[in-house]
């Protein structure tokens, strides 16, 4: 499916639409460079390491480590009821992703695996469970 089609069908921007399309199937995609193998996320039109155009979406292992986290005790918007924990996960492939915690109480350094939170009006949101 081309970018144009995914944007028409769903959520995201011109570059991120494939990510959200895959999210519907609970697949976590990262960009990888065909020239230097560098992984990057969020998506860019070329590799930030070597500037090659040869970047493509690949499925990530879904495994990572909690790099940092915070538990929020204040109401910042009607969409979130405190307390809730936001983790910053370093994926095995290198890039970091924010996430909520679907299961367990992680500490920094803990291994986590990808999970998905279904949303009504948007594709599933990547979250993490303690491995």
């Amino acid at each position: 499916m081309t970018n144009e089609e995914t944007i028409e069908n769903g959520y995201g921007d011109a570059l991120s639409a494939p990510f959200w399309q895959a999210a519907k199937e609970h697949k976590l995609l990262l960009q990888q460079c065909g020239n230097c193998s560098h992984f990057q996320f969020y998506p860019r039109p070329y590799c930030l390491e070597c500037q090659s155009d040869d970047v493509s979406w690949v499925e990530a292992s879904g495994k990572g480590t909690v790099y940092s986290q915070t538990t929020v005790h204040v109401q910042v918007s009607p969409d979130f009821n405190p307390p809730y924990t936001v983790v910053l996960v370093e994926l095995e492939e290198g890039p970091r992703l924010l996430g909520h915690v679907s299961e367990g109480e992680p500490a920094i350094g803990d291994q986590v695996t990808i999970d998905w939170n279904e949303r009504e009006d948007k594709p599933p949101l990547p979250v993490f469970s303690v491995a």
């Binding site: 940092s68 986290q69 929020v72 005790h73 204040v74 969409d79 979130f80 936001v86 910053l88 924010l98």
Partner: protein, 384 residues
């Protein structure tokens, strides 16, 4: 090619806007009042201003402010480096003035975020922005959630404690008690900070800066023009700026801020080391902001900021006086503190800081930090 900045550059005037809760002025009128006061100190008028540097004063901020003041500049800058923009503006003004592109630079700012109740912690970004897709969706409070994650990582990696962070808030309060203009004057202990409400772990309410109205103005000019100043002009020895990220997921190392680069640039240009600094005026948006600045500017090694601040080292009587006006934690935080850091640094070097004056202060550093620990601007000032 010779050194670009070989002609001495000075800050010839500084002023605060009305502070605290301001009901009888607008942001533009506050800026106008501060600009006149700073120009008075410099022995100048609005007619002398040919460069204008403004952040957070609305769309095309320098254009709005210049019109309000009746100025048609030949150099204008509304670069948005968040709260660190004002240290970056000194950097930019230094280059512009030393290259003859303008001669009298007015840097100014005002906010009424307290009176307007305009401060929100809601995540930023339009619905289809990268920020909304990958960050806002998690409800990370802006900016505190980002600083909280940085503090948590620093604690994990280096064993930094909440007590050590609280030392910074206590030091700021002790300085504030010596400044009649400070918003918070009541006593504060480490226990008080630890017992204050948890906002976003590990940061408590008293790890966070105030929300007040305020702002200021400063005048950057040549040595020749600064000779007419009513008060002692203070030399800009060096300045630098940098930024690392917009999204927290993109910050290369959560324990290293852009201050490493801005500090290296500013200290290098000034030809000084941290040991030469008599007064440090760091941006204290949160306690962790100061702790990381101490490391990134080289006052202590990376990871040793916690131990460094223990025993009141930054407080009155300590070996590194910092946040001497009470900082954003206790004096005033009008959304962007960077300009008021410069005002305090200049007053310390003019030896006019009254009850909080650092004796014989000759070198001061103002270190701005903005965004979500994204940006830094460092300015080294000297009494000569």
């Amino acid at each position: 090619m010779g050194q670009v900045n070989d002609s001495p550059i000075y800050i010839a005037g500084v002023a605060e806007t009305p502070l605290g809760e301001v009901h009888d002025q607008t942001e533009l009128s506050m800026v106008a009042l501060a600009a006149r006061e700073a120009l008075d100190e410099a022995g100048m008028t609005l007619k002398d201003v040919d460069g204008i540097f403004v952040n957070y004063m609305g769309e095309e901020g320098s254009v709005q402010v210049a019109e309000y003041l009746g100025i048609q500049p030949r150099y204008a800058d509304s670069s948005d480096l968040g709260g660190a923009a004002f240290e970056a503006f000194v950097h930019h003004a230094m280059n512009a003035v030393s290259n003859g592109r303008c001669e009298v630079a007015l840097i100014c700012y005002a906010s009424r975020q307290r009176t307007r109740r305009s401060r929100s912690m809601a995540p930023r970004g339009d619905d289809d922005s990268l920020t909304a897709q990958f960050q806002g969706a998690y409800g990370l409070p802006s900016p505190i959630g980002h600083y909280a994650m940085i503090a948590a990582r620093h604690m994990h990696q280096y064993g930094t404690t909440s007590e050590q962070l609280a030392e910074i808030a206590v030091a700021a309060r002790k300085w504030a008690q010596k400044n009649p203009k400070a918003w918070k004057q009541d006593p504060l202990t480490i226990e008080d900070v630890l017992n204050s409400r948890m906002i976003s772990t590990p940061l408590h309410r008293d790890d966070c800066c105030l929300v007040t109205d305020g702002g200021g103005a400063i005048i950057v000019t040549t040595q020749e023009r600064a000779r007419n100043a009513a008060k002692k002009a203070i030399r800009v020895l060096g300045a630098g700026e940098s930024h690392t990220h917009w999204h927290i997921s993109q910050m290369p190392d959560l324990t290293v801020s852009a201050g490493q680069v801005s500090g290296r640039e500013a200290f290098g240009q000034a030809g000084i080391t941290p040991a030469d600094v008599d007064v440090l005026v760091p941006y204290d948006s949160f306690t962790i902001t100061v702790l990381m600045a101490l490391e990134d500017l080289g006052f202590c090694a990376k990871g040793e900021g916690g131990a460094f601040v223990e025993g009141g080292r930054l407080a009155p009587g300590g070996s590194l006086p910092a946040m001497t006006m009470g900082g954003g934690l206790s004096y005033n935080h009008p959304g962007a503190l960077g300009l008021l850091l410069l005002v305090e640094a200049v007053r310390q070097l003019r030896w006019e800081a009254d009850g909080r004056q650092i004796e014989d202060a000759e070198i001061a550093v103002a270190h701005g930090v903005g965004g979500v620990f994204s940006t830094s601007g460092t300015v080294v000032l000297a009494r000569d």
